[in-house]
């Protein structure tokens, strides 16, 4: 008896400790998944809704549609006309925004606790009752074109990035810019938007996340009261065509230069496996890349910035949270008169050597420790946990898997890391870009 008692305490202690966010979840009858992350340190709460739809779902010729709809979601409903929702949030001291990615579209508000119920009502309302006029659509199209000119066309490095991505994903819709191609944005119509909205904006295709000063009880009450009454519009099942890219067999180099570019920047993007394919492998790759090229204590930084002085800065990171293939992105800022071919050769050689003798036990343990520290820092925010959970769930990772991230981490050995890096070094699916 005593033993069991002891065991129970021990068990509950470890299980508590290993839960990253201690989030609760439940599902409404109409299929809406709801997540609650309680944190009552400040009288503030955030609501996020993640739709499992992004630029990945756009038909050919309709690029920019998911993002266009994101803008138009602020244009009001019959009950709450244009401007009502934003004004409500603002006059109560809240803040809001939205973002669109390849795989998802998300909307969020942060408000003082006492205004939560109203924003749940408003968010539920616009999931299903959006009204749009031709004029709204045409004016917003101009705004989006300006956004494109500002974010991409007047930024040389963004022009380069767009082109790198298209070459890395020549067949998959991941190669299409989220904001869309200029000529296709211009051709989008109100009917395109309405159809997209009707197809994808359903409780079944969304995840609602409350984070901050909210109880599970309140979250249940409000979400059932407002979202619960929404019927799944069309009983459609979203069938995504599973697109793949051919293996990149040619050496792809992209160069962009214009009179405004004053500093050369080298970039290389690799196509690789995602966390969705294997969380364990994903973490092992992330760990290895952080040792290799994550920040100013990494091996590549020490070799190329500090010892060989070929670049003023270098870095690389794994973007593994994606429904389909993931990417690893490298960049370096070469010093004057540095031969790019020499730089590339050096990067390759150092990576190859590091897998053999650079990934030391010390570095491995330290990197694991950094993960632990990061998970503590995450809890100092009400917004970030919601952001992480929302992104992971949208691409198809389960809450339990996110919560036990540390367990995956604990299982990983130094050999796992080396194996992932070995695979990575042999990966020829990459595109190289040069600015300037």
């Amino acid at each position: 008896m005593k033993l069991i008692f002891f065991f129970l305490i021990f068990f509950s202690f470890t299980s508590l400790k290993s839960k990253l966010f201690d989030a609760k979840q439940f599902k409404l009858k109409n299929g809406l998944q709801v997540i609650v992350i309680e944190n009552s340190r400040a009288p503030v709460v955030s609501q996020m809704i993640w739709y499992n739809v992004g630029s990945i779902d756009e038909k050919f010729g309709k690029s920019g549609l998911a993002h266009f709809l994101e803008h138009l979601m602020f244009k009001g409903t019959k009950k709450y006309p244009s401007g009502y929702y934003s004004k409500y949030i603002s006059k109560n001291g809240g803040t809001e925004n939205a973002f669109t990615s390849f795989d998802y579209t998300a909307y969020y508000q942060i408000v003082p606790t006492e205004h939560l119920e109203k924003i749940v009502e408003l968010e539920a309302d616009r999931m299903t009752n959006l009204t749009l006029t031709d004029e709204q659509v045409e004016t917003e199209k101009k705004v989006i074109l300006e956004e494109r000119y500002q974010r991409i066309d007047s930024k040389p490095s963004a022009i380069l990035d767009e082109s790198i991505r298209k070459s890395l994903f020549p067949n998959h819709t991941y190669g299409t810019p989220i904001i869309g191609w200029e000529h296709e944005i211009k051709a989008l119509t109100i009917d395109d938007v309405r159809k997209f909205y009707n197809d994808y904006y359903n409780p079944k295709n969304a995840i609602l996340i409350f984070s901050g000063d909210v109880s599970l009880k309140k979250a249940k009450e409000y979400s059932e009261k407002y979202f619960g009454k929404i019927k799944v519009k069309n009983q459609i099942n979203i069938n995504r065509i599973k697109l793949n890219d051919p293996i990149l067999r040619t050496n792809i180099r992209i160069n962009y230069d214009d009179e405004n570019v004053k500093q050369k920047i080298w970039k290389r993007s690799f196509k690789t496996s995602s966390y969705k394919e294997s969380i364990k492998n994903g973490i092992a790759l992330d760990l290895g890349l952080k040792i290799l090229t994550g920040g100013s204590t990494s091996i590549l930084y020490r070799e190329l910035v500090e010892k060989k002085k070929l670049v003023s800065s270098i870095g690389g990171y794994y973007q593994g949270m994606s429904r389909d293939k993931a990417t690893v992105n490298f960049y370096a800022i070469p010093n004057e008169n540095v031969e790019i071919s020499n730089l590339e050769k050096q990067i390759y050689e150092i990576m190859k050597k590091s897998v053999v003798n650079g990934i030391t036990e010390d570095r491995f343990i330290l990197q694991k420790k950094k993960y632990e520290h990061e998970s503590i820092y995450l809890r100092d925010s009400i917004f970030q946990p919601a952001q992480i959970i929302g992104e992971a769930l949208s691409i198809g990772i389960a809450l339990e898997e996110i919560e036990s991230w540390d367990e995956f981490l604990n299982e990983i050995t130094i050999e796992d890391v080396k194996n992932e890096l070995k695979k990575f070094i042999k990966n020829n699916n990459y595109v190289t870009g040069l600015l300037g």
Partner: protein, 429 residues
């Protein structure tokens, strides 16, 4: 029912006492404001040395940026590599930057490693090494950064605005320096900057997190106790008197034109400051609510973003704004902007706008309390502008007491369309 009432009051009192700020002064006379918060085992500290790039010597612009960038590049007996590895082991984070009027450091650590972290922090401030290798490395990085900023339309136009708007005031100089000045900075310049500017008399500290007041008091001496006392009057920053008005056009090949605009404003502790802030919220500040946003983006689709804000820097406040639009739309956008500027000057704002702005500012304050990092930053800001430790209690009343006639009187003086200075960078030929 009784329970309900009790809960109601209990909740309310939490709301009211959300921020329990206390001033602590160490034995060696280091002052800090602190909010204890044990909900997460971390400590956040925000510290600033007044001055920043303002005290860069002429011809050595960028010195303060250089010094800030070297703060985690080796100190005391630790080389750059050893210092950074130690930080990683402790889970300690150090971010630093210099601006026109202060050099700021954001420090965070895991509370169980606090003692070692504070010692490391002390070492960075008291005995930075400024080793030759690291100086050259950072010099190279600042040069790259200057070139990258010059390549970027928005940052280039901001720099051109500052360079010309502030005339011969020191604020006209680039915080990062120029390619020439960065090349001219020597180790002695860095040491000199540190010696003169890292003193107790121009230091401001805000702390929040998992540490008791009494312990923090002791630790303040560990970190800052050995800093020289300094003399407050050496850190005087000259006020901005004259600024430029009119238009400056710069040709740059680009699909869009970037416009940065502004004119003189109020000091942060001017009694009219909050009225101006409220008025600007209505004009160009309030997210999706401002008139500029509604008129220029929502109704006319001319821009993706347009904003204005009050920048209350130490030399005196200014109001600053910006937008980017297709080259051929610049004149239309500028006309609409000037019209709104004139309208708010002459007509002021409405009672409804005032009410909404008031409730925004009262309600939004609690968002600053949601992380130890943001609380530490807030504690620093309130000290920087000398708003008083009772500001956290007074703030709501300051806002509530603003009357429509007062705000609109302030609008009349504050918004001066004829004094606006525009930097217009794009394909304007």
């Amino acid at each position: 029912m009784i329970i309900y009432v009790f809960l109601f009051f209990f909740l309310n009192s939490i709301n009211l006492l959300a921020l329990d700020v206390e001033e602590i002064v160490s034995e060696r006379n280091v002052k800090a404001w602190i909010v204890e918060d044990n909900s997460v085992p971390i400590i956040s500290m925000n510290l600033t040395f007044k001055g920043g790039a303002y005290f860069d010597a002429f011809g050595k612009e960028g010195t303060s940026t250089f010094v800030a960038a070297l703060l985690d590049e080796g100190a005391g007996s630790l080389t750059s590599k050893e210092f950074k590895d130690e930080m990683s082991k402790l889970g300690m984070k150090l971010d630093f930057r210099s601006s026109k009027d202060e050099l700021s450091v954001s420090f965070q650590t895991i509370s169980k490693n606090k003692k070692k972290s504070f010692k490391l922090m002390r070492s960075a401030l008291i005995e930075p090494r400024f080793d030759f290798e690291e100086i050259e490395k950072i010099r190279n990085q600042i040069i790259s950064s200057i070139k990258i900023n010059e390549s970027n339309l928005r940052s280039f136009s901001s720099q051109q605005f500052e360079k010309n708007f502030y005339l011969d005031h020191k604020f006209s100089r680039n915080v990062e320096g120029s390619l020439k000045s960065i090349k001219d900075i020597k180790k002695t310049d860095l040491e000199e900057y540190k010696r003169k500017n890292f003193t107790k008399s121009n230091l401001i500290v805000g702390v929040s997190g998992d540490i008791s007041k009494s312990e923090m008091k002791e630790q303040l001496d560990v970190i800052f106790g050995d800093l020289p006392k300094g003399d407050e009057k050496n850190f005087f920053i000259n006020g901005i008197k004259d600024v430029r008005a009119g238009e400056l056009k710069i040709q740059k090949k680009s699909p869009q034109t970037s416009v940065i605009f502004g004119h003189n404003g109020f000091h942060r502790n001017d009694e009219k400051y909050f009225a101006a802030r409220i008025a600007n919220y209505v004009l160009g500040g309030g997210g999706f609510q401002s008139k500029l946003y509604k008129k220029i983006r929502e109704e006319n689709g001319l821009v993706y973003s347009i904003y204005s804000y009050l920048l209350p820097n130490a030399a005196g406040g200014i109001i600053l704004g910006g937008f980017q639009t297709k080259n051929e739309n610049v004149h239309t956008t500028l006309d609409l902007l000037k019209k709104e500027w004139l309208h708010i000057k002459e007509k002021g704002i409405t009672q409804e706008e005032l009410n909404n702005a008031k409730s925004y500012f009262i309600g939004s304050f609690s968002r600053s309390f949601s992380s130890t990092k943001s609380i530490a930053a807030l504690l620093n800001t309130v000290q920087t502008y000398k708003l008083g430790i009772d500001y956290f209690d007074r703030r709501s009343k300051i806002i509530e007491d603003l009357t429509l006639s007062f705000v609109n009187k302030v609008c009349k003086d504050f918004f001066r369309p004829n004094e606006l200075f525009f930097t217009i960078v794009g394909d304007i030929s």
